[in-house]
């Protein structure tokens, strides 16, 4: 009776807590241990889930992208093995670990994506979140004819939501410099800037998709001023290289500048 009176004046949960305490004391100690262990497991699982769900994918890949026939697969072969290999149009991606020649460079994965129009987008979707750097290979010899296609691809690369969030380094490799008609990197940069200037205007006026999503929501560069690659949040570097090399099939490739830039990553 005294106990009941005391409980009446205490918290409303008093009687329940009392009964719980009495139950626990009556039970075996094993029950309490089991209860504690179960609680611990639940807590640990929650922590793990949180950790896995919010962990970012580590970005260790360097992607080789570009139009069809730009020389990506040969560049891939040269960077990895230094040998010349005959190549055909790629249908799937190839990947391999790569270690740059300098001492303090880390290893990452070099991934060669197919450049064909119908495959380009789905492979980009797959690999863009793991990209730490993107090597955009351009065929310098026939650049004049392909200016618009190159610019369009580069535009889509730069305005992609995931890429503009992760801001990987972009290296534009002007390949096929061994051909006499090849344009220099500086010229290619100027032409691309002009083309991107027009593109960002037409693309923002493009029709929206049938389910309502609007493409091209990211506006490149600064409004009002002509587009320049330096206005972008990511680092864009232009360099020249030649995967085939000046001495034909047996000679070495002229890819020192590319290797140096890759080592600096």
């Amino acid at each position: 009776m005294e106990e009941e009176k005391e409980d009446g004046t205490g918290s409303p949960f008093g009687p329940y807590l009392e009964s719980l305490r009495r139950e626990l004391e009556n039970q075996d100690p094993r029950f309490t241990i089991a209860l504690v262990v179960a609680l611990a497991v639940v807590v640990i699982t929650c922590v793990f889930l949180k950790y896995f769900l919010t962990s970012k994918t580590v970005r260790t890949a360097v992607l080789l992208v570009g139009l069809c026939d730009a020389g990506k697969t040969l560049l891939f072969a040269r960077l990895l093995s230094g040998k010349f290999k005959r190549t055909q149009t790629s249908i799937t991606d190839s990947s391999a670990p790569y270690k740059a020649k300098s001492d303090k460079a880390s290893t990452w994965t070099l991934i060669d994506l197919p450049g064909h129009d119908s495959l380009r987008s789905q492979y980009m979707e797959k690999f863009k979140s793991t990209a730490r750097a993107i090597v955009f290979v351009v065929d310098s010899a026939i650049f004049q004819k392909e200016v618009r296609d190159v610019a369009e691809f580069l535009y889509f690369l730069l305005t992609d939501a995931v890429i503009s969030r992760n801001v990987p380094t972009v290296l534009v490799a002007c390949n096929k410099q061994d051909i006499t008609m090849a344009k220099s990197a500086k010229l290619i940069q100027q032409q691309l800037e002009k083309e991107m200037n027009t593109l960002r205007m037409t693309r923002s006026a493009a029709l929206s998709s049938q389910d309502g999503s609007v493409g091209g929501s990211v506006f490149l560069g600064k409004k009002g001023k002509d587009f320049e690659f330096s206005q972008l949040p990511m680092k864009v570097e232009f360099l020249e290289c030649s995967a085939r090399g000046n001495k034909g099939e047996d000679g070495d490739a002229n890819i020192e500048s590319l290797e140096k830039s890759l080592a600096r990553l």
Binding site: L80, R86, Q88, A96, D112, D117, D149, A206, L207
Partner: protein, 653 residues
């Protein structure tokens, strides 16, 4: 004999190649063309391809991600090529299994594949095997049976008919022993066993007996007609006998099916002009309820229906039987088999994929993809997955669905997207108008979508000239004039420097469409319009003169963009329409690089919920992208295609 043979990985690195003697051109070009047009466009159903003078055959190895390609001159017909490819594939895999097995391409790059000796050995084997089965040489005269017959037997006598027939029969039976002849056994055995010597004139007793036996058997068999002998028969007896049909009656009255019942319904319409009723026919007065369908017809129909039902039931039974068989194989062992199928590396075979592919094909057809295209797609996916090793915890169904989804997305994005605004700016800088032509069958929405596109263009600040080249349909010109007025009221000339944004160029009805188009383009050039939209009349694809007229319009005016307007409701017709339109454009153009359809406008997209298969059919056939999607009838209902959304709607259950 072969021009070249290459083995390369799907990632593009050539592992080994062989170039035939005397061949100097590099094979990279043709192989790239093969990859682009066949493998990437999902047409890998049949495995050969021709490129200029070369004929290419290929085989995909999906387990190790390799492609084997052989090329030879188109004019040669080499029979051993298929076998050679298969042998080479098996050999190469066995020999280099270790190098190929590892994921990642480093090993591929660094290893050297010395395959020449094996290849030459296999090539020699294949060539020898093909030579072994050389075609049968012709028999010399001495070997043939004709030399064994005496000349006398071939002379025509009064009874020569029979003798010749016998000789002919014997020869036929000797030569055609492989053919299934549903002939009574007596004839063949007696004829073949009989000695070849055919000696004397007249019939020997055995021949008489044989003849009688034939007659007897013929009468027993009834309608068993003898094969007409190829040797010319001697003249028949003089009079021509009247032909007697077995099934036909002999009286004219038997052919009179006119019944008092059905005469009334047919003749009723013709009563007007001549009320004169022939004596033989009786009209049934139409009093009271309508009579049911004629008894004879209904009987035939019932019988036909019953037969059809029986066939369907049989088919259904067969299908259910085949479906039941794999389930029966389950049970206790099947439970573990299912688990085994989930875990562990298992390579896909055709039989595993068959049921899933059939289901997928039916699903695609239910979503309004044309039937032949669904079949081709499923074949191509099967080719791409055959022999592939599945990862753990993936079922066959999920792998196949994934592959199908990827190939569908691939098909819907064939080329670089057509950026019309960019091209118009280009044309403006070159001081010429950008010409777009709309073509299609009747009633798909050409004029409506033309108005929508011109609205979009004037919203972006371009001036548009509409050329009314539909001079056939009543009200076509007025329709375009109404659109022009509305568009100009939405964008009044005062806002745009005093110049109307949309103008209509029309010359009324009945004139030649190609001429009007040419004048309109010249006018646009003079007045510095940015875009010319040419509206043509709708026409059916098998109407040859109209297709010729359209081809002439396009060939003469050389538009920058030829858009085919197709509605999303079309089903299997889409295949026929596009093929015939492209064919007509290719046939009737004078140049060797004809202008074909450059893009597709998919209209009435709001009327289909998720049966979006027409998009797939159209892009698969032409290989051109879908440029615009029309989703309604107001000016704002113009969209661009989102490939992923369409494919997910297509794959949704």
């Amino acid at each position: 004999m072969l021009d070249f043979f290459t083995i390369f990985s799907k990632g593009g690195i050539v592992l080994w190649c062989f170039q035939g003697a005397g061949v100097t051109e590099s094979f990279t070009g043709p192989v790239n063309a093969l990859i682009r047009s066949v493998i990437l466009q999902e047409r890998s159903g049949n495995n050969s391809y021709t490129h200029e003078a070369l004929s290419l055959k290929y085989k995909l190895d999906n387990e190790f991600e390799l492609v084997f390609v052989v090329g030879f001159q188109k004019i040669l017909t080499l029979t051993y090529v298929d076998k050679l490819i298969n042998d080479v594939q098996l050999h190469f895999r066995d020999r280099y299994k270790n190098e190929l097995d590892i994921k990642g391409s480093l090993k591929l790059l660094n290893s050297n594949f010395e395959f020449e000796d094996d290849f030459s050995m296999l090539l020699r084997e294949a060539e020898d095997s093909s030579k072994a089965r050389s075609p049968a040489s012709m028999r010399t005269f001495n070997e043939s049976l004709k030399s064994q017959k005496t000349v006398k037997s071939m002379i025509e006598t009064k009874g020569g008919d029979k003798i010749k027939e016998q000789g002919g029969k014997k020869n036929k039976n000797a030569k055609k022993e492989a053919e299934p002849v549903k002939v009574d056994p007596g004839k063949t055995t007696s004829a073949s066993q009989k000695p070849v010597e055919n000696g004397s004139q007249g019939l020997t007793p055995e021949e008489v007996m044989q003849k009688n036996r034939e007659e007897f058997f013929r009468k027993r068999m009834g309608g068993n007609v003898e094969k007409p002998s190829k040797s010319p028969k001697p003249q028949k007896p003089k009079e021509k006998q009247r032909r007697v049909w077995d099934m036909g009656g002999s009286k004219a009255e038997d052919l009179d099916y006119s019944h008092p019942n059905d005469n009334g319904t047919q003749k009723a319409g013709y009563q007007g002009p001549d009320a004169h009723i022939e004596s033989g026919m009786q009209l049934n007065p139409m009093k009271g309820d309508l009579l049911s369908v004629d008894y004879e017809y209904s009987e035939e129909e019932d019988v036909g229906e019953e037969e059809e039902e029986e066939e369907e039931e049989q088919e259904r039974m067969e299908i259910t039987n085949t479906k039941r068989v794999p389930k029966k194989g389950g049970g206790f062992g099947g439970m573990f088999g299912m688990l085994k199928g989930l875990v562990g590396a298992k390579s896909l075979s055709r039989e595993d994929m068959e049921p899933v592919l059939d289901k997928m094909r039916d699903h695609l057809i239910a979503k309004n993809v044309a039937a032949e295209i669904s079949t081709q797609l499923c074949d191509s996916v099967a080719k791409k997955l055959e022999g592939k090793v599945m990862g753990t915890f993936t079922t066959v169904a999920s792998t196949v669905k994934q592959a199908l989804q990827e190939s569908l997305v691939q098909i819907l994005q064939p080329k670089r997207r057509v950026d019309i605004l960019r091209d118009v700016l280009d044309a403006r800088s070159q001081r010429r108008p950008f010409i777009v032509t709309f073509c299609g069958v009747n009633g798909v929405g050409k004029s409506t979508n033309l108005a929508k596109i011109s609205f979009w263009l004037i919203e972006n600040g371009f001036t548009v000239l509409i050329a009314a080249c539909d001079t056939f349909r009543a009200g076509a010109v007025e329709q375009l004039r109404t659109h022009q007025r509305r568009l100009n009221s939405l964008h009044p000339p005062e806002q745009h420097g005093g110049r109307p944004m949309v103008q209509l160029y029309e010359k009324g009805y009945g004139k030649d469409a190609a001429g009007i188009a040419m004048e309109a383009i010249a006018y646009a050039r003079n007045q510095a319009f940015d875009v010319v939209l040419v509206d043509t009349a709708g026409r059916m694809q098998d109407n040859a003169p109209l297709m010729t007229a359209l081809a002439k319009l396009i060939a003469v005016n050389m538009p920058d963009l030829v858009l085919f307007v197709g509605e999303a409701l079309v089903g299997n017709e889409a295949v026929d329409q596009l093929v015939k339109f492209n064919q007509a454009l290719a046939d009737h153009s004078m140049s060797d690089k004809p202008r074909l359809i450059d893009g597709i406008v998919l209209t009435k997209f709001d009327t289909i919920d998720d049966k979006v298969g027409a998009a797939i059919s159209m892009t698969y056939i032409t290989g051109q992208p879908i440029v615009f999607v029309g989703t309604g009838q107001t000016y704002n209902d113009l969209r661009s295609l989102n490939a992923r959304a369409v494919v997910s709607a297509l794959m949704k259950a």
